[in-house]
Assembly symmetry: C2
Homo-oligomer: 332 residues x 2
């Protein structure tokens, strides 16, 4: 069958290694870090901030890469495009992603900036505040797109963070066009409230013209449509996309498609340790469900379960067996 997709989901994003450490709130003030958001920093600031950082753990990250790792862990076929450098952190990122079963063949950058790092300060309330040095990841461009993989992916999933660099944005739009031309679907996560603020008109243009499946949290969606009314925002996104999943932290999520709207509860967590990757792994559960044509409530339930796993420990990559967690048969 010509139309059978080799990949259930292909991810496109900033290839980043996370440097995660628990801190007190006073550390954020001292270091002038905006709580619960993502701030771009240059190399000098990254070096200085790391000096001030407590003892940390390094774990592969990157929003779309976290999602791909989650989808792969659930048993779907996945691939990823993103730029690392030919350095130790780049090897770590590549190893960790391939170890999930994902195909990852973007050529590493030589003689340029280092692999991207995200310094993540986790406060006792489990909020994560991110300072990202994009390094090599920001040099991802149109030439790095694996056209063949995009044509052969049922869904191409992209992170809004890519919009912070023009080259990545161009690659992003080109990827959406390739997917559309091949009769495939495109998905986008809005990534961050400040990111939506920085790129609202571009996002709106993209969502209206190129995106089938949208992920956002409540604040991001309200910001995108410049409203304070959640019902209005939902009505708007329903006009723009065929499918949307909107997360509302402990209130759970809302999933809408052309026919239905369902509310899904958040999965209770004994102790929320680190919210890094909550949205990324929620998207993984939902995209896995969509790849298997499962009903909206099941897609949402998978999202809640996988998000609950990720926030119960440090780091944005799953620790346990996600298939078991979601009660998916071994051959699922």
């Amino acid at each position: 069958m010509a139309n059978t997709a080799k990949y259930d989901v292909l991810g496109l994003g900033n290839a980043i290694v996370d440097v995660i450490a628990p801190v007190e709130d006073a550390f954020l003030t001292q270091q002038d870090i905006t709580k619960a958001s993502m701030t771009l920093i240059d190399e000098a600031r990254a070096t200085a901030l790391y000096q001030a950082f407590p003892s940390a753990s390094e774990t592969s990250g990157g929003s779309a890469a976290n999602t791909i790792a989650g989808i792969a862990g659930l048993g779907a076929n996945t691939a990823y495009c993103g730029k690392v450098a030919d350095d130790t952190l780049g090897e770590t990122f590549s190893h960790d992603l391939r170890a999930t079963g994902a195909d990852f063949n973007t050529v590493p950058l030589c003689n340029g900036p280092a692999t991207a790092r995200c310094l993540i300060a986790v406060t006792p309330d489990a909020q994560r505040s991110m300072s990202t040095y994009l390094g090599a990841s920001s040099l991802f461009g149109v030439d790095d797109l694996d056209e063949n993989a995009i044509k052969n992916a049922a869904i191409t999933y992209m992170e809004g963070y890519l919009f912070d660099r023009d080259e990545a944005k161009a690659a992003f739009i080109h990827a959406a066009e390739i997917a559309a031309a091949a009769g495939r679907k495109t998905a986008l996560t809005l990534s961050d409230l400040f990111c939506v603020d920085r790129h609202r008109s571009s996002f709106l243009h993209l969502v209206r013209g190129h995106i089938d499946i949208l992920f956002a949290n409540e604040a991001e969606l309200l910001s995108l449509y410049e409203t304070t009314n959640f019902e209005d925002a939902l009505a708007n996104v329903r006009k723009d996309c065929r499918f949307a999943a909107i997360t509302r932290s402990e209130k759970g999520s809302v999933l809408i498609d052309e026919n239905d709207m369902v509310e899904v509860k958040a999965e209770p967590v004994e102790r929320v340790v680190d919210t890094t990757g909550a949205g990324d792994l929620y998207a993984a559960g939902v995209l896995y469900g969509l790849s298997r044509d499962l009903p909206l409530p099941v897609c949402g339930r998978f999202g809640s379960l996988v998000a609950a796993e990720i926030i119960s420990h440090y780091g944005a990559r799953p620790h346990g067996d996600l298939k078991q967690l979601c009660n998916i048969p071994a051959d699922g």
Copy 2:
């Protein structure tokens, strides 16, 4: 006062970055890994094993370094000697140790093997099985000893793992001699059952001639004295050292000095995730107590509390505020 020590505890050990991943028991069989022990591997095996390893987290490790990080977290003055290479993992190790407040000034190795890595496979029963590529750490030698620091440390604490390399063993014994000549105390952890097996006569010689404070688990102590009777082993160690602390997993620990013997309960843990570093952090709690001249039961209690913290998450470096955990005042 000439005899006041600048450092409460100086640690001497293999400077290692841990690469930790959850695995199923079948993985240990497939990869021919001896469960719950430490196996030395060469670089080729390290590379091949890493290829087979699942998505992992990198955290600074090394037995004595973990202990020093714990003691520093409790508020004591600490220093560390150990060899990293001038590479990314070496920078990570150095950063993480210094971030705890420990002094660490061993000159990194240039143009030699890479910084040591320990591939730690954690099974669902929370047991850790370690495959260690010693790299640069094995080139730690007499020249790397900071004599001044040893002379100015109330206790010099060394890990038995150093005995796996002749150069490190020589440095170890030299350090013990410097400490003794300066009227300071020496401490040793036996590290590993197989390590005791490999070096029993050297260990006995060292314990009898050079060591004031001994740490071991029950199996290691039984092996050291080639007995199956715990009471006999305790009677033996009491003849050889002024102080010993013997851990017995969930049965707690036994602490003995010239006058007393006390049994201390293990601290209950909601869910044991990863036992990596349990012994290292137990030693941290006890050594902190000794540095403050606290009674044996309090030393043991600190050991239990800090060990419980470390086994409740992945990685052998503490996540939380250890002072708060042990109810130590901020200026303690």
